[in-house]
Symmetry: C2
Subunit: 142 residues, 2 copies
């Protein structure tokens, strides 16, 4: 039975609401030691070193806001600033050991929270989730 427009809209709404609810629960139930916007920056730098300007664009905040956020994270010992030898204007940010540890611990806690919620599922249900994840990842690439 092919999907009608109404059924597809309903599915879109269900996917959106479930994702937002799950995301909210993850944020609330395994909070990091730093504020959410600060943690988001740490994760970006954890994936790869970044300049303040790149981070401001990725986080959709102004450069001055990112300067302040970065200052806090440097003061807290999670980030370090390094001069870029190829362009004296830029300053590359990297994680300290404490910063990497914080990111990895928080990610582990969140994955563990999610894991406990998937433990009671059947293998068929887990396979459904795996397929859905693959589909959504593909959809979000566009």
């Amino acid at each position: 039975m092919p999907y009608s427009n109404d059924a597809l809209l309903q599915l879109a709404s269900d996917v959106r609401m479930t994702s937002q609810l799950l995301s909210r629960r993850i944020r609330f139930e395994s909070a990091s030691e730093v504020a959410p916007h600060q943690f988001s920056v740490l994760v970006k730098v954890w994936k790869q070193p970044r300049t303040p300007g790149e981070l401001a664009e990725l986080e959709r905040v102004s450069p001055p806001s990112m300067t302040r956020t970065v200052n806090c994270l440097v003061d807290a010992g999670y980030l370090t600033r390094q001069a870029d030898p190829s362009d004296g204007r830029q300053r590359v940010l990297t994680l300290t050991d404490a910063g990497a540890a914080l990111v990895e611990k928080t990610i582990h806690d969140r994955d563990d929270w999610m894991l406990r919620r998937l433990e009671g599922l059947t293998d068929a249900e887990r396979a459904d989730l795996a397929r859905a994840v693959e589909i959504l990842a593909r959809v979000l690439e566009k």
Copy 2:
């Protein structure tokens, strides 16, 4: 083939990351006219009228913060305060027509954004997503 512990942890991580990525995209790509925390309050009141105290608890903010947020939304014409006849201390908040219109327009925009991303999928893929939504909704009830 039954799921190993490692495979289940990987699945948990994939589900978590996909949900957070999707949620972030929705938030960024179809922003409301009011700030996110304000919109969240409007949605709560849209579902049912609420007192400031209930909203503070639902949103995990302090009562004074909620007072301020509610003041902004009342001033902007999205909420109205009404006295509770059964308890003079409480003040029940309800949406104005403009508030309801804003909530419904934003929800529609977000669902439409999601819909456009699901349009290219096969019926089998859509059915996978529908099953995944049902599974996650069940998991989140606990």
